[in-house]
């Protein structure tokens, strides 16, 4: 029973010894880490990891070193990270994880002796004493200089502990004494207490009570001066156990009480820590809550912003399409309006044409009517000389009315594209003759001279009927605007290879330049009447123009007022004619 109690205290104690190496900051290593941190400043994860490592914030160190390991390929950084993780795991008592991390550190690591040391300590903690001993012996072999920041005494002490556990008491004694001696020289009280206790335990286990007790007492004395509650507790407990075994119960009781006192204060301290921990946790929770709320708020804000953005984009698109369609509509409207105006104009023209034509017809028929009345009257009175002139006027009126109607019909046919149109070779002189034939009596009655000097060799390529309509209209016009005793001549000008030029010349009233340009204007509208007393609608000329163009020809007018007019029609020649 007693032995067992001692062993537990011993184990407790040996653990305590390990941690001592950490309590003293490893100055050399921390400076080396700081240098590395400066060097790899851009690796933020590494920088953070080392920062947390130096602040003993093990969890954060684990997180950031993991991140760095995942990202970095730099061997040096990896080694450091693994080292950080190993130490962190060890501090969190995850010895297996720690061991794994240590094993991943490459041999080039400048602090490899530390790695060995840690491995040894882990092995020792796991009661794998032989392995631990191996690691520690390797460390021991290194010279003092190579172990800058590790207390050689600690190594020796650990070896001693290993032998103690392996019950190799002689060796254990040797190493523990070596360690104690060093610690005495270095005046490291805390370690010394541990060493004394371990030496005492060593003797005590061999039942060398006389040798053991002074060390227990020495440890106890020293522990009174030390601050560490744990040390005090262990030392007191050891004294209690020793006194109990010596059957010195009052003293043992005293020690027990003292032990309880230390234990309580240790517990108090633990409680304070626990409360602090709770508070911390609470604060963290509170913070977390705040963070959650903020996050939620952010989310809402983001959602709001996204919604706003989406709706504004939608609105913009709607607006754009609206504008597009609106403009399209305006454009269409404009076109429609333009077309409407054109149509209105055309319709007005048609109406005007209609009115003029009906007016002309009305007056012609009326003239015919009155003339017929006179005819009947004269017939009754048997005034035969008058009859002749009346009949001539009648036929003239009928003729012009017929021409008007014929033009009207042809115009309508042309507009509706119903008429048959067939171009062929035509003997121009004959065609002119045919048209002229109908006007001979009229010209005779008006005493107008006529000359047909169309070259007999001219053949044109045109549609017979339209050519006749063209010539008829111009001839009709020429007669209409000729004064009595005038002269009308139709002749051909020297033709080119492509065209034959037919000229219809009169010595009539002629036209001004403006009238000519008005007549030749490319419009469907009818020109205004200038001579109200002369029957005409302008329809004839429009018809002629359209037909000339349809036959592939062109029209020119040369005129001088009161001198005469020359109508020049260019017609396509018939090419096949040899």
């Amino acid at each position: 029973m007693i032995n067992r109690v001692l062993t537990t205290s011993l184990l407790l104690f040996s653990l305590f010894v390990f941690s001592q190496t950490h309590l003293q900051k490893e100055n050399l290593m921390s400076t080396a880490i700081k240098v590395k941190a400066q060097k790899f400043k851009e690796n933020t994860n590494f920088y953070k990891a080392q920062n947390f490592f130096l602040q003993n914030n093990w969890d954060s160190t684990l997180v950031y070193s993991m991140k760095e390991i995942n990202e970095s390929r730099n061997k040096e950084i990896l080694d450091y990270c693994h080292y950080f993780r190993a130490i962190s795991f060890k501090e969190k008592k995850l010895l297996d994880e720690s061991k794994k991390e240590l094993n991943q550190i490459s041999s080039g690591f400048p602090f490899s002796y530390k790695v060995k040391m840690k491995l040894g300590e882990i092995a020792l903690s796991k009661n794998n004493f032989k392995l631990a001993l191996q690691y520690f012996h390797e460390t021991e072999k290194l010279t003092n200089k190579q172990l800058y920041d590790i207390k050689f005494s600690t190594v020796l002490h650990n070896i001693g502990l290993c032998y103690l556990h392996l019950e190799n008491y002689e060796k254990a004694e040797e190493y523990l004494f070596k360690s104690a001696k060093r610690q005495e020289i270095e005046k490291d009280t805390l370690l010394l207490i541990g060493s004394y206790m371990d030496i005492a335990t060593l003797y005590y286990q061999q039942y060398k009570d006389n040798q053991a007790i002074p060390y227990f007492e020495k440890a106890y004395q020293l522990s009174q001066k030390a601050k560490s509650l744990e040390l005090k507790q262990n030392a007191t407990l050891n004294m209690a156990v020793v006194e109990e075994n010596r059957k010195n119960f009052p003293l043992a009781l005293n020690y027990r009480k003292e032990y309880e006192k230390w234990k309580d204060s240790l517990n108090d301290q633990n409680k304070v820590w626990a409360i602090a921990d709770l508070e911390k946790k609470f604060a963290i929770k509170q913070k977390q809550k705040e963070v959650d709320i903020l996050e939620a708020e952010n989310k809402i804000k983001a959602a709001e912003r996204n919604g706003f953005l989406a709706s504004s984009i939608l609105l913009l698109i709607l607006f754009g399409t609206g504008i597009y369609f609106y403009r399209q509509k305006i454009k269409k409207n404009r076109i429609i309006l333009k077309q409407k105006n054109e149509l209105d104009e055309l319709n007005a023209t048609k109406d005007k044409l209609f009115s003029i034509v009906s007016h002309d017809l009305r007056s012609s028929v009326n003239a015919l009517k009155t003339s017929n009345g006179k005819l009947i009257e004269n017939l009754k009175s048997k005034n035969f000389t008058e009859l002749d002139t009346l009949l001539h006027t009648n036929s003239t009126i009928a003729n012009s009315t017929y021409n008007l109607l014929d033009n009207l019909l042809n115009w309508a046919l042309l507009q509706t594209k119903q008429s048959y149109f067939f171009k062929e070779s035509l003997h121009l002189a004959s065609i002119v003759q045919h048209v002229e034939y109908n006007y001979k009596p009229l010209m005779l009655s008006k005493n107008i001279g006529f000359k047909n000097e169309v070259a007999k060799s001219e053949y044109v390529f045109a549609d017979t009927d339209s050519l006749k309509i063209i010539i008829r209209n111009f001839l009709d016009n020429a007669i209409k605007f000729s004064k009595e005793n005038g002269l009308i001549s139709i002749y051909t000008r020297t033709s080119t290879e492509e065209y034959c030029y037919l000229v219809i010349e009169d010595t009539g009233v002629g036209m001004s330049e403006n009238t000519i340009s008005d007549l030749l204007k490319d419009t469907m509208l009818l020109s205004k009447k200038e001579n109200d007393d002369i029957i005409g609608t302008g329809l004839g000329l429009q018809l002629c123009k359209s037909m000339i163009y349809k036959n592939g020809g062109s029209l020119e007018i040369e005129s001088k007022e009161n001198v005469g007019t020359k109508i020049i029609i260019a017609l396509q020649k018939f090419k096949n004619h040899g």
Binding site: S419, Y420, F422, A429, S430, Q433, H434, D465, H577
Partner: protein
């Protein structure tokens, strides 16, 4: 020289009367006036007809075109024809155009126009365009007749009746058994158009209807024709005798 025989197909009496007057005034011979399709066919096949004047619409139907289509089917019996029409309806024209050769005249027309249209019909039908109004020719040659323009009208001469042709500059003297007259056509052209088996050249200026030869006097370089016409046979063209089967 004979008058041209014209068949008129027209259902409106006043118009056919006017037509008859114009044509007879110009020495055309009217062989008949048909007012229906059947009548027209009967008249066409029972008479010698040189030109047909057809009104497109007979009793409101385009039977005139139907008639033209009918006579067009038998190639050898076809004669030149002229369509008369009131309307410029395109569909009717497209149909009429299929009866080639095709010439038409819009109503109302004057004397010159109908005469011109008939001349055109003859020219187109015998495929000798631009003859009657040119300054160097006034004759169209068909396979059995010469159509000659005399003043305003056409005349015809049966080719079979010609004894010989004597060339004088741009003119040709046509000598038949009963007449002698001048036509305007070049020698090369008339030789081209006449049947070379029947008409042979015996001299630079003479073309002889071989069917009318009575005697060839080689010693005098003389050919005696019917009606006691004498034609010179020049050395250059003596080979033509080889064409005839000569009794010895």
């Amino acid at each position: 020289m004979d008058n041209i025989n014209v068949l008129i197909i027209e259902d409106t009496v006043s118009e056919s009367d006017a037509l008859v007057k114009v044509l007879t005034d110009n020495n055309y011979n009217i062989v008949g006036i048909a007012s229906t399709y059947n009548e027209a066919l009967a008249l066409f096949y029972n008479n010698v007809v040189d030109i047909v004047v057809i009104d497109v619409f007979l009793d409101g139907k385009p039977d005139g075109i139907t008639f033209a289509e009918t006579i067009n089917i038998v190639p050898n019996s076809v004669k030149p024809f002229v369509f008369l029409t009131n309307s410029k309806d395109r569909q009717i024209f497209e149909r009429a155009k299929l009866t080639k050769p095709f010439s038409f005249l819009m109503k109302p027309f004057n004397e010159l126009e109908i005469l011109y249209a008939m001349e055109m019909a003859v020219e187109k039908f015998y495929q000798q365009l631009n003859v009657f109004h040119s300054e160097d020719q006034n004759t169209v040659v068909s396979n059995d007749s010469l159509f000659i323009k005399k003043k305003k009208a056409l005349k015809k001469v049966c080719i079979e009746d010609i004894l010989y042709i004597e060339v004088e500059d741009r003119y040709c003297n046509i000598i038949t058994e009963t007449e002698k007259f001048v036509i305007l056509i070049s020698l090369t052209k008339i030789i081209e158009l006449l049947d070379p088996m029947q008409f042979v050249r015996t001299h630079r200026n003479f073309i002889v209807n071989s069917n009318k030869i009575l005697e060839i006097v080689l010693s005098d370089n003389l050919i005696v024709l019917k009606g006691n016409h004498h034609v010179t046979l020049s050395e250059k063209y003596k080979d033509v005798i080889g064409k005839f089967t000569v009794l010895k």
